[in-house]
Assembly symmetry: C2
Homo-oligomer: 523 residues x 2
């Protein structure tokens, strides 16, 4: 469990030969050892060759083998013990309990995909049996299953060093689907990445899987990242990060001779609608909930509530007053990296040009500490200025005051695609909420009533996705078991002899799947 | 049922003001009345505004309403009677029984989607109930369903004037999903398009649906087509046609401020592998089946078998001999349009530069008649020259002679993505077939044993799709009931009161769906 500063290409370690980075402890601004030298196009090609060689074998491992592998990864991560927690805390400035919780979430997620793999519904087996007597033409025997797309490139996020990183949701779902994975580690937490990468390669070895099932690279987005996305052997990409980063990868993927799918989770300001009766009844409680959600983890969540929409008036004034009061007593919090802190400062400064600051959190006491901000603007101004809906990654939010229901609707229609939209409502608000719902369904992947968008449950029903620019592909979720579907494609087998069919499609249904058999779902 | 030469924007007719086209009867080279004046960007904007206005209402019609609508479209198409058949025959040069069969397929497809809509599995309902007592954090109530993406632009194919056109598979599946549809009619069969468009608008009226659920436009791809794909209110595109056409639409869709999904079915040469034992046992029968599949419908099928791969030797010589003999007695056949005929001639001429012609069909007896062609080349040459795998739309095929199994595999790995791959094999070929299968699974959406790829069954298990350039999105099929999934996205509802939930997600399960409830599939 010592850190070596090397990349993992299959079971082998390689030292890069490009500029080295060291993680920075954002709480102290001090660099952390060891140095991680960046890889180059050669390393990418090597990892891709290995992943390609592993693909056909890995995608046909049994459901049990693959599920066991995912569980073994979880166990290996847990076996890293405090070393992992210590390093992740040092690299991110996040509180220890948060990192411990995130480890639990990450391992729980791997085990959840193990259950999904075993259940086999993702194979979506459909069988239409032959009708040799059918006139005018006989019907052949047709059987469909889903297979893995191919090796997947994963780009981890800065804000979840475990759950959206080396062995996070993208990796877990791609491995579950039968895709080898090559991760480009996020430069903010290379040590955490190496530890988890080591755990993953140990799991590959323990399960007797081909080397190329997993590799971990370091290096620049421009060199290693683009080389990875444009390698012909990579068939899909998972990414969580900025809009500009996601778009760069998407464009590179589309410019390939064979374009590939990119699942980029990018930008969302997560509107919160405060309906009149709810606002009237409990503006103080709403303000408390809002400030807690806004400032949690220094506001560094994709689902951070960055926009509040409500009718102008005394109740909203009350909400703003209480929220301002609470927020002005919030201590500044260490952000993940100096770069993220500086982008936050820039974003806040830019918004100050266009909206009124009504509250600022307490001043910073150390390096890279973000001060929470609350802004207010009018609906007219919001509708007239695109910059007011630019995401500021951190604890800054904007309240949009609307003159009437029509303006609420106009603001809502004006929004770009979102990960979430939240409705705070009471019984008396139901008719207005019902009227607004169709617009919100078009705008966001997850709709919440009387809750707060931060906190994304890993379960079957979760949608962590949404229309562009929330993600590059609104048809998918990157959290929850449905995430496996991103890395699959259907294949149909016509008139195959049983001996040549994969298990899932054989006559005797050896995997005991509930198939769609001649139009009927099996019990 | 008179043809008016006008576009249908909702329930209203509009005459275009751009260059008019008339369909050409390819069998006589004579133009057919009436003239169809092309629309412009204004017409596109009007149709999109109407579709957008219809969207929220249409997507929430009940499953029963939507299924009835699809069935009504089928009945209205059948009610067109011989007028539709006559016009389609005149516009395409296809034989009358083929058009009659295609009408049956088109109406059967609409009814098949009606059954799929009613069954409701496409909603993919997932419910994770609240766990208020869970520690450290309670779990909220989370419910997922799928909703329609938005208005869809459909571009019909030249070669299926009914089944892949105005009310074809793309339209049927998009309407089934709850998406309004705007069709840009193919210029090869505007009259057929108008008749079917009229049937569709009658069905919209009969079912009391909003006007904008369906519109039909004429005009140039460059003006009307691009305006349609780049209109912000269009959220997905269905296309069947050439590689260049599909790529142009895909690029336009990706360059939008909000990129959208394009399902383009483009180019495939549908390799056929003749394994040694099968070839030895029945080279004559194989040659007969091959020539029949190759020349059916003048070879104008996306699944036309354009490539035959086998080991060099006496058996393959026998196959080539019999096929050449049969093919040289095939009459030339009228192709769909003068443009398609001329592209076929150009393609054949180009291939003649690179491969040996071993047989030509009988000479043309009338205008636009394509003469079948069989070419032979060696694996080395095939591997060295990308041009040898360019699709020739029509009855031309290339036999690739391989020295050994390794060369068969190399040819196979060298292929671009395909709609189909066919294996002709006997018991003794099973080990070789098993070894090749993983490669074929990576290359094609449908694999066939001892059959021919032409003939695409409309059923649950069908995959009419495949890796690029067969389609722009290998994760989908454009034929069969799974095609509905292309036009859907998941939405999650968190802690919603029952009164605000859509039917599909309500506590009492009023639609009697088999939900994924707390990780278990309901019986």
């Amino acid at each position: 469990m010592t850190l070596t500063g090397t990349m993992l290409i299959g079971q082998h370690s390689f030292c890069g030969n490009r500029d080295a980075i060291r993680a920075i402890n954002p709480a102290t601004d001090m660099p952390l050892e060891p140095a991680y030298a960046g890889g180059n196009a050669e390393h990418v090609a090597q990892a891709c060759a290995l992943a390609w060689a592993a693909f056909d074998g890995y995608r046909e491992t049994s459901l049990e083998q693959r599920a066991t592998f995912l569980e073994t990864i979880a166990a290996q991560i847990e076996a890293l013990g405090d070393a992992l927690i210590d390093r992740a805390v040092a690299e991110t400035g996040l509180p220890r309990p948060r990192i411990q919780g995130e480890r639990g979430r990450t391992c729980g997620q791997l085990r959840s995909f193990a259950r999904t793999v075993r259940a086999g519904e993702w194979l979506d087996v459909r069988v239409d049996t032959a009708q040799p007597q059918r006139a005018p033409l006989p019907r052949p025997d047709l059987r469909q299953r889903h297979i893995a797309l191919g090796p997947v490139a994963v780009f981890g996020a800065s804000n979840f060093p475990l759950a959206f990183s080396v062995a996070g949701g993208d990796t877990a779902s791609a491995l579950a689907a039968g895709c080898p994975v090559i991760v480009k580690a996020h430069s903010a937490h290379p040590g955490t990445s190496e530890l988890v990468g080591q755990a993953l390669t140990r799991a590959v070895r323990a399960c007797g899987l081909p080397d190329g099932v997993f590799s971990l690279l370091y290096g620049s987005g421009r060199e290693v990242g683009i080389a990875l996305v444009t390698d012909a052997r990579i068939k899909a990409v998972g990414f969580t990060g900025s809009r500009s980063g996601g778009l760069a990868l998407t464009q590179a993927a589309q410019a390939r001779p064979e374009p590939i799918a990119v699942y980029a989770e990018m930008s969302s300001i997560n509107p919160v609608y405060l309906f009149p009766a709810a606002l009237e009844a409990r503006c103080e409680a709403l303000a408390q909930g809002f400030v807690a959600s806004l400032t949690q983890g220094a506001g560094q969540f994709c689902t951070n509530p960055g926009l509040v929409i409500a009718l102008k008036g005394a109740a909203l004034d009350g909400f703003i007053g209480v929220a301002s009061d609470l927020l002005s007593r919030c201590p500044a919090q260490t952000m993940l990296t100096p770069g993220i802190f500086s982008a936050y400062e820039t974003g806040v400064r830019a918004l100050t040009q266009h909206a009124r600051v009504v509250a600022r959190g307490l001043a910073a006491q150390g390096p890279n500490q973000g001060q929470a901000h609350l802004f207010v603007t009018q609906a007219d101004a919001f509708l007239a200025n695109e910059q007011l809906q630019a995401e500021i990654f951190g604890a800054a939010a904007l309240v949009v005051e609307c003159a009437d229901d029509q303006q609420v609707r106009a603001v809502c229609e004006h929004l770009e695609g979102q990960l979430t939209a939240t409705l705070h409502l009471d019984e008396a608000d139901l008719p207005s909420a019902r009227a607004l719902l169709p617009v919100l369904e078009r705008k966001a992947g997850r709709l919440l009533v009387n809750g707060w968008p931060t906190g994304v449950e890993v379960c079957d029903a979760m949608v962590h996705g949404g229309p562009f620019p929330a993600t590059s592909d609104a048809r998918s979720t990157s959290v929850g078991t449905a995430a496996i579907q991103r890395f699959l494609r259907p294949v149909c087998y016509q008139d195959f002899p049983d001996a040549l069919l994969p298990d899932a499609l054989q006559q005797g249904n050896p995997l005991s799947l509930r198939r769609l058999l001649d139009g009927q779902r099996e019990a």
